[in-house]
């Protein structure tokens, strides 16, 4: 059986990959994908804790998180599509109107 720590390492690795993606990538779609990667990292974390402590709370949380990830992807994609259609922008460095 795979030890519990490995799942935690995997989850933290995925979380950091997503965080670096949000910080560094320029394309808004990739940025949304990075947010999804972070969400999936947390899903792995919760299900691992649930599996190794024989408690069902974590699985319930996982279902809520999956629904929430879908909702957030819907909101984010609709905003990005609106941005592209009205202003023809898709890169983060173009989003520079408000500053100061």
């Amino acid at each position: 059986m795979i030890p519990f720590e490995y799942y935690v390492y995997l989850s933290l690795l995925l979380f950091c990959i997503g965080l670096v993606g949000v910080m560094l990538r320029r394309n808004l779609i990739i940025l949304l994908v990075s947010l999804e990667i972070m969400m999936n990292a947390l899903i792995v974390l919760f299900s691992a804790i649930s599996r190794y402590s024989n408690d069902t709370t974590g699985y319930v949380v996982v279902f809520f998180l999956i629904a929430l990830a879908a909702a957030e992807a819907g909101v984010g994609l609709s905003l990005v599509v609106l941005l592209y259609r009205s202003l023809k922008k898709i890169y983060t460095e173009d989003i520079n109107y408000y500053r100061g």
Partner: protein
């Protein structure tokens, strides 16, 4: 198997809100006179303000509980929401392209989310309420692109930062779940009270505070606030600045009371520097702003810093004064925004501060109202802003944080400058543009006068409001902890 308590009566108000919100989304297409939504919203506010006094306290499953704290805070929030609805109506009369039932429907969903957040008994419900409070706002900000095409940029910035905040929040949930094996507040409280693994819990609390401070726009995570505020329609800005901050602040206080009260001193130490930095950054950056809304955004950052100062000493009295500060701040902003909406309807350039010059000659009444609210924001007696600051600093000094209190007072002197500069422009400068007067509906005058009255009244005689809040906290704590 523990018996579940399915008391629908405790959940009644939230059901009404949910049904009303869904109703707007269902029927709005088929109704051509769009002003119906406003009247339904207004009736809903009055109705829920009454019914909240009669709703029984009780649990709906173990996740949702209506109790003293949540009922009181819901009542205060409904009071604020009433004014937000009036402001929205006044704005949409001029900006007709936004006048759809969905505008009010999204506002009601957000209100629903904040109610869920305040009544939650476990971290998952709290988190879902927090998300439901903020997700409709992303859309409401983006709607403004019909008048100001750039506003989607503000919405996207807010969305990305908000999503990151919620991810950190879930990370904190994972840590608490690992440490205590549950997400219920009371089980986490007993685990924290046992005293082992204190550092691990504090690490979780740091991530939790990251999530909260992104929603409250505290300093390391404040960059989204001015952009989102400038991008959104003015009533939505009022909602973001006053209402959501107040709701999230009360939820944070609730979490600190019922989940982490054994280590609340350490949490206060964590919050001290965040609060002081928020006050400093908000006050200093407000000085250089030329746009009125951006200035108010930085001032809201600073004011949330003051409100957090009440949590630093870790005494329950200070928590009550923080709630009082949030309440006073809600009404100061709503009043000031109703003045701004009045001006903005007739002159779209009014948001630049230099265009306000000579307003006092043209519109003496509104200038005087602006004077009251700006004095209150600056913290000058006899207004409510002064009393709120006074109580927060008294608790801070009694808790032994003398140097922090002195620093906070110094920063508040810096923070008074931007508001006084606006007043100087309004009262002393030579008029540059002419204002044409327009009609203003009775309800909006009502909102303006009531907020001005409250600001003055709470400044002169704050005792009843303070006692009301403190007694609520006392009763809540008694019922929460004494039955062990």
């Amino acid at each position: 198997m523990v018996g579940l308590n399915l008391n629908v009566g405790a959940f009644f108000l939230e059901l009404i809100l949910l049904v009303t919100g869904l109703f707007f989304f269902l029927v709005d297409r088929f109704i051509s006179r769009k002003s119906y939504a406003f009247w339904i919203c207004l009736l809903l506010c009055i109705f829920s303000g009454f019914i909240i006094l009669f709703i029984p306290f009780g649990e709906f499953t173990k996740a949702f509980r209506n109790d003293f704290y949540s009922a009181t805070l819901k009542f205060l929030l409904i009071f604020g929401f009433f004014f937000v609805v009036i402001l929205a109506k006044e704005y949409l009369v001029t900006f007709r392209a936004l006048e759809y039932g969905e505008f009010y429907g999204l506002l009601i969903f957000s209100l629903f989310g904040s109610f869920i957040m305040l009544s939650s008994q476990d971290f998952l419900t709290l988190f879902l309420g927090l998300e439901l409070t903020s997700i409709p706002i992303y859309f409401l900000i983006a709607t403004n692109f019909l008048y100001q095409r750039r506003s989607i940029e503000g919405a996207i910035k807010y969305f990305i930062v908000g999503a990151l905040g919620s991810l950190f929040f879930i990370l904190a949930l994972g840590i608490f779940y690992y440490l205590s094996g549950s997400l219920y507040f009371d089980i986490i409280l007993t685990k924290v009270a046992q005293g082992d693994r204190r550092e691990e819990f504090l690490a979780g609390i740091v991530f939790l505070l990251v999530g909260f401070s992104i929603k409250l726009s505290l300093v390391p995570f404040h960059m989204w606030a001015p952009d989102a505020y400038e991008a959104s329609p003015v009533p939505v800005t009022a909602y973001l600045a006053g209402f959501i901050k107040f709701a999230v602040l009360s939820a944070l206080i609730k979490v600190l009371i019922i989940a982490f009260s054994p280590i609340k001193d350490d949490v206060g130490q964590l919050l001290l520097w965040v609060a002081l930095l928020s006050i400093l950054v908000g006050s200093v950056l407000a000085i250089i702003q030329e746009n009125l809304i951006r200035l108010l955004a930085y001032s809201s950052i600073a004011h949330m810093g003051y409100a957090l100062l009440g949590l630093v000493s870790g005494e329950y009295v200070g928590y009550g004064f923080s709630i009082f500060y949030g309440f006073v701040y809600l009404f100061m902003t709503l009043g000031l925004f109703s003045v701004i909406i009045y001006l903005y309807r007739y002159n779209r350039n009014i948001l630049e501060i230099s265009n306000l010059a000579g307003l006092a000659k043209e519109l003496p009444l509104f200038s005087f109202m602006a004077l009251i609210f700006l004095f209150s924001l600056a913290g000058i007696p006899p207004t409510a802003g002064f009393m709120a600051k006074f109580y927060v600093f008294v608790v801070l000094i009694k808790g032994g944080f003398l140097i922090s209190a002195v620093l906070g007072l110094l920063f508040s002197v810096i923070g008074a400058y931007p508001y006084l500069r606006i007043l100087k422009v309004i009262y002393m400068d030579r008029p540059s543009v002419s204002f044409n007067r327009g009609a203003f509906s009775f309800l909006t005058y009502l909102a303006l006068y009531i907020s001005a009255f409250l600001v003055i009244l709470l400044g002169i005689y704050p005792q009843p409001a303070i006692e009301f809040i403190q007694r609520t906290l006392y009763l809540y704590l008694t019922f929460q902890f004494l039955h062990f």
